[in-house]
């Protein structure tokens, strides 16, 4: 079941024209894991924007979370398609920043398949 899912996922990521960007969520308290690095590399190769949320930022002090952000950002210097921010669902911090990124991605026009109401 899992293999089948992974296949679907790969197919989705590679073939889906509607995909405007990838939001990658990862716990601010941990360094990037293999899966995270895989997604970052994949998006870079596919030329797809990736926005990383360092989640559960409320679990760290302000200083510690800023340090984590700086450290993670340093790892992304070779990935111009990547952006990163702190996020906390608990305190709702980081939502406006995320919304701004999504707005930008959503404003990229959709593949021109569904516009049938010609003028």
């Amino acid at each position: 079941m899992k293999d089948q899912w992974q296949e679907h996922l790969e197919l989705y990521l590679n073939e889906r024209d509607a995909l405007a960007g990838l939001v990658l969520l990862t716990d601010v308290r941990h360094a990037f894991k293999d899966f995270d690095l895989m997604m970052i590399n994949w998006s870079h190769q596919s030329n797809l924007p990736i926005h990383i949320l360092l989640t559960k930022a409320d679990k760290l002090t302000r200083g510690a979370s800023q340090n984590a952000l700086l450290g993670a950002r340093r790892q992304l210097t070779d990935y111009p398609n990547a952006s990163i921010q702190l996020f906390s669902s608990m305190t709702k911090s980081g939502i406006p920043e995320l919304e701004a990124v999504l707005d930008r991605w959503m404003a990229i026009p959709a593949p021109a398949t569904e516009e049938q109401e010609a003028g």
Binding site: Y12, L19, L25, P49, N81, S89, R104, P111, A118
Partner: protein, 166 residues
């Protein structure tokens, strides 16, 4: 006329990146036929990606637009941002074949198990909360959210469980 308009100097466009401009993206103008629209969209799409690579620090750059009076297409700040609070759960699917048509704009939320994907969606949409799964590692479906007015679909990849340590 509009094909001329698209033969612009890329550095000039790059300089125009920061010029805010009101109004709808020009490809939505009714006077374009569907095929013209498709062509314009394809060309601008490529351009937008190129500009994003050059100007990734301009995070609020959101749509490419041109005014009729001017030969120079302008990149604008979207005048009508999405209202994510009105997004609601649409469907879930176990495979690609159940996914909605590949036509709208989508964003995939990806992350390992327990990275906070569902919580982030809940915080963003502020409604229809996703129940916390009783067995997070058993999740194998896509959940799709849409804000129908703006034709956007969000998609959560929920099957990123890493193998347990032995």
């Amino acid at each position: 006329m509009f094909s001329e308009c698209l033969k612009f100097d890329r550095s000039a466009v790059a300089n125009a990146v920061q010029m805010p401009c009101e109004g709808r993206p020009y490809w939505l103008n009714e006077q374009f036929s569907t095929s013209e629209r498709a062509r314009i969209i394809t060309q601008d799409f490529a351009l937008l990606y190129e500009l994003e690579r050059c100007h990734r620090q301009i995070v609020r750059l959101s749509c490419l637009s041109a005014s009729h009076a001017c030969d120079l297409p302008r990149l604008t700040v979207s005048s009508a941002p999405m209202n994510y609070k009105t997004a609601s759960f649409t469907t879930s699917s176990v495979g690609l074949e159940d996914c909605p048509a590949d036509s709208l704009r989508e964003v995939a939320f990806a992350g390992r198990s327990n990275a906070g994907k569902s919580s982030a969606i809940n915080a963003l949409t502020n409604q229809n909360p996703l129940p916390a799964p009783a067995r997070p590692r058993a999740e194998r479906s896509l959940s799709i959210f849409s804000e129908s007015g703006r034709r956007a679909i969000w998609l959560i990849c929920r099957a990123m469980a890493t193998p347990r340590c032995p």
